[in-house]
């Protein structure tokens, strides 16, 4: 398991576009923006529906499961709060309940709780949360939930 993230070293000060998203984390709810007019879901929570251009936005609470679409292994930290966490695995996670009615996908970025030896493209993951006394919000993490999956792929190096 990667080392701890030093959350005391960050400040979270949501702007108007992010406030509702961060507030939902307090109840361990992970939201996707969803167009109130046409239903499109997307990530990240930026204003405006790229399909119908409506500015009316609602939120979709995800079930908290997904599949690793890609990943990297960070050995050299750049941010101070991650210096104790290396090596850590970042993933792009495809959300089954982020699939839109036109077939387009929604994928998010995710900080895994697992080590490189356990990670592969195609594996299923589930949402978990970090809690830190320095932060009023909960911090999303993801955990691998199976050792194998059809078509899984791993960097050979």
């Amino acid at each position: 398991m990667p080392g701890p993230v030093d959350y005391a070293k960050i400040q979270i000060t949501p702007d108007q576009d992010m406030a509702a998203w961060w507030n939902a984390t307090k109840e361990k709810r992970f939201l996707l923006p969803q167009c109130a007019a046409c239903g499109l879901k997307w990530w990240p929570p930026a204003p405006g529906c790229r399909r119908c251009t409506s500015l009316e936005q609602s939120w979709h609470q995800i079930k908290g499961v997904g599949e690793i679409h890609s990943y990297i292994v960070v050995s050299q930290p750049i941010a101070a709060h991650m210096a104790t966490a290396v090596p850590y695995v970042l993933a792009i996670v495809e959300l089954p309940d982020g699939t839109n009615d036109d077939g387009s996908k929604t994928r998010i970025h995710a900080l895994l709780l697992d080590d490189e030896k356990d990670v592969a493209i195609g594996l299923p993951v589930a949402l978990a949360w970090d809690d830190h006394p320095s932060q009023p919000y909960k911090l999303p993490r993801w955990r691998i939930t199976a050792k194998t999956a059809p078509g899984m792929w791993k960097h050979p190096g």
């Binding site: 960050i10 493209i121 960097h155």
Partner: protein
């Protein structure tokens, strides 16, 4: 061909040394680079009336550079951006000069990319506190997902899965560019490397090793652009601008990672416009320059612009094609991987020198275009250099390009 093909030329190029660190301001370096580019062209800085530049909040405005060189400007605009900005500003210059907004133009980049603002935002001393996490745009900071190497690594990893390419093929790009840098007196990293060296180099952000990643340097560089009728009496053989693209964007650029294929990069959307406007095909291109912030960004651009078939860029780079004596050399200067880092402008400058047949190597007659073509003696001139393609990269979803000819 486009309506402006060959109507404008790059008449002068110049730069400071690549320094680590410079101990200079971006103002001081910018003045030097612009002055050198004007000297190279044979134009007094005071006779330039348009200036543009690009920066990421880490540089000095063109108005200040112009003021220090006595310019009375009719056009001065600085744009935000790093990679792909050079080719975009070349297109911009062609439009402005056509419109009569100024009579000639200098484009510069000045950056302390090593001692000042480094890629990803960290300090020279190491990991640095991130700015407050406020916007959707800087949410990435929460996860330590900050640097270009991390972002493009995601696309590279998926490319490797989807194509089945042997990841070690990326090493051929690092090796070729380093060989080229060994022939470039300006380059920071000049010691040749082997595949063993590449494979022994440490991981920074898997799939990238340290030798997959560009240098960080403090440097300024500049380009002078004039209408072709102004170029005849100047000091250097003109290099004509055949066509280009200016920040072609892929679909959903706000978030690359929800796109159907995350490594289907912006160059795919610009390719037909580039070659259509320039009136040539890939077969006519003698040399390419890629934005080699990473080995992978070279690989994927060569594919996006149609020099290699989808999924086959690994074979392309492993075949020796991109070597200085290969069929279509790439980055004969050593590029960002081995010469130094300028957010793209230095690769355009190298193509200009190559097309003049005046690569600034150690051949005694290089300034007159006399080269030995003997690599053992340090010649860096590409043998056949009539037409070059500059493949600029901003991100997976942003690309600019241009085609130049002698």
């Amino acid at each position: 061909m486009g309506p402006l093909t060959d109507k404008f030329c790059i008449a002068g190029v110049g730069e400071t040394k690549h320094m680590r660190p410079s101990n200079r301001t971006t103002h001081s370096m910018g003045v030097e680079a612009v002055k050198r580019a004007c000297e190279d062209a044979g134009i007094r800085p005071q006779d330039i009336d348009g200036i543009t530049s690009y920066n990421i909040g880490d540089s000095t405005a063109g108005t200040s550079i112009g003021s220090s060189l006595g310019m009375r400007l009719n056009y001065a605009v600085d744009i935000q951006g790093g990679g792909s900005s050079t080719e975009a500003l070349i297109a911009h210059a062609v439009g402005l000069l056509t419109g009569g907004y100024c009579k000639n133009m200098v484009i510069f980049r000045s950056m302390n990319g090593r001692s000042g603002r480094r890629p990803g935002g960290q300090a020279l001393s190491g990991p640095t506190p991130v700015t407050p996490i406020s916007t959707y745009d800087n949410f990435n900071q929460l996860y330590g997902f900050l640097s270009p190497g991390q972002r493009f690594g995601m696309s590279c990893m998926r490319y490797l899965k989807d194509t089945g390419m042997d990841p070690n093929k990326l090493g051929h790009i690092a090796i070729a560019h380093r060989k080229h840098a060994s022939l470039n007196p300006k380059a920071v990293m000049r010691t040749p490397i082997t595949m063993d060296d590449y494979l022994a180099s440490r991981w920074v952000s898997k799939p990238f090793r340290i030798l997959d990643m560009c240098l960080e340097t403090d440097v300024s560089a500049a380009i002078v652009i004039v209408p072709r009728e102004q170029a005849y009496d100047l000091r250097q053989p003109p290099v004509y601008i055949m066509g280009g693209t200016a920040r072609t964007m892929a679909d959903n650029p706000l978030w690359n990672y929800s796109r159907d294929v995350i490594h289907y990069v912006a160059g795919n959307y610009g390719r037909q416009r580039l070659f259509g406007m320039s009136g040539v095909t890939q077969h006519d291109i003698d040399l390419t320059s890629s934005y080699d912030a990473f080995t992978f960004t070279t690989l994927i651009q060569l594919e996006a612009y149609g020099f290699a078939k989808p999924g086959e860029a690994g074979e392309y780079v492993a075949s020796g094609m991109i070597d200085i004596d290969g069929r279509r050399p790439n980055n004969p200067s050593g590029g960002h991987l081995s010469e130094g880092y300028t957010h793209g402008i230095s690769m355009v400058i190298e193509n200009v020198r190559q097309l003049r047949h005046r690569a600034d190597d150690t051949c005694p007659g290089w300034q007159q275009g006399r080269h030995t073509y003997d690599r053992a003696k340090g010649c860096r001139q590409v043998k056949k250099a009539e037409i070059a393609a500059c493949l600029g990269w901003g991100t997976e979803t942003m690309s600019s390009s241009c085609i130049l000819r002698r």
